[in-house]
């Protein structure tokens, strides 16, 4: 497999090509605006392609740990829905994007169930920790939306 240039580097190079060579030749403002949007999307994809598997894998592990902690802190009845969601997460060795994304999505359901359980039981510290996990998720989304990631390695 050819690794140099990387996918983010190729996407960034495409951005430069479109920006320098194609955009100035477009007289129509509506088409120009569409191409500028396309350039922004290329920038987002460059960041995403560099980090998404690592970020999703890391966040999935953090959610599993959190949900287990909530499950251990609540009553048997409250624990059941959290454990049910945890049981659906199959983390294996596959690093294919679809497999990692599927586990990440199931972890999202587990996080919701765990937060519900923590709120029902008025476990404020655990609610705040769950909220902090959501904040970390948004911070990464913002790094992608900003088109440049300076952390995460």
């Amino acid at each position: 497999m050819i690794t140099r240039p990387s996918t983010p580097q190729i996407l960034r190079d495409l951005q430069v090509e479109v920006e320098r060579e194609i955009l100035p030749m477009m007289p129509d403002p509506v088409s120009k605006m569409r191409v500028q949007m396309l350039l922004a999307v290329l920038g987002n994809c460059a960041v995403r392609s560099a980090h998404e598997i690592a970020w999703m894998t890391q966040e999935t592990a953090e959610i599993i740990e959190y949900a287990r902690e909530v499950a251990n802190a609540v009553s048997d009845d409250a624990r059941r829905p959290v454990m049910m969601q945890l049981d659906t997460i199959h983390v294996d060795d596959s690093l294919h994007l679809d497999d990692v994304a599927a586990a990440y999505s199931r972890a999202g359901y587990a996080l919701s169930a765990a937060l519900d359980a923590a709120m029902d039981a008025y476990l404020n510290d655990l609610v705040l920790r769950g909220e902090a996990l959501l904040r970390a998720r948004v911070t990464r989304e913002q790094e992608i939306a900003g088109g440049s990631a300076t952390t995460g390695r």
């Binding site: 949007m37 919701s112 989304e141």
Partner: protein
Amino acid sequence: MDRDRLQAFLDAVEPERRGTVLECHPMPGGHGRNAARATVQWTDGSTESLFLRGDPPEGSSIFRSDRDLEWALLNALAVSPTFRIPRPRYYDATGEYLGSRCIIDEAIPAQSMFTAMQTETDLQAANARFVDVIVSIHTMPLDVLGPDIPRPASWRAHMDSLIGQLDEIQAGLQESNPILHYVARVMRENLPRAVPLALVHGDVQPGNVLVPEGQAPVIIDWEFSHIGDPRQDLGMLAAITYAYKNSPAEFSATYRERTGMADEDLNSLLVDYFLVLGTARLLQHMILGAEALAQGEHQGIKGPYLIKAITHFHNLYLNYTEQVSGSRKATA
């Protein structure tokens, strides 16, 4: 929506006046609508400027709104006693002539309040004028709208339906969204006091207010308008413009003063609450657009482009829940 199509349409709807379309130019439109500006000369020698807003081709926009309902609403609002809108002129309800369903309004030759604010030295006065515009919408008697405009059964039913949008968004997804799940729960647990239902613009911002020289402001872009909680507009405003962000306390105070609303019914935390509810429908369009894209449906460039707007709203929504958690922490 070109000159020939508009000519054919006017020939059909105004055969007596025999207008000639002098020009018809496409314009970058808001919310994925196709927009154009046209000038027509009638046989009596008069000219008229028109603004055309049509549905984009199927699959090329992620925003959906009901054009028939908008047309009915515009015709009702044209006689509003509290504010002015561009006169609704024509409606191609089937798209037979203009290529897609299209509403044609009078074009107002004026700059927007947003543009005017860029050079305004007294921002406090400019903000107060903008608040007056918002108040003019919210104080319009609802009976002006007539029976064709849907009306919620009650404030509570309306709020349940608004918060329910956050559940609907999740139901339409093939992946989890724990942020929306959590936010919906926090919203339900922090329901505010009821206020009277009012006309909600749905996208009120200085860019959607035209200020013709020496005349009353003209409010445009009513496609997301409905009857609801007036604070939805303030929440939406807080999400998208600096008119609110620059001085939130003063903005809310002016609004309270003009409407008589109590402090406990409108404060910065409640504006953020309604920011979530006021933008939920917009977010729903964006998220479902992204989901459609994931299922292989082309959504135009706005589909992938607006994914970053989803992030923007996730961030704003969490800002609200963190304020609630912060006060919970302080109480504890």
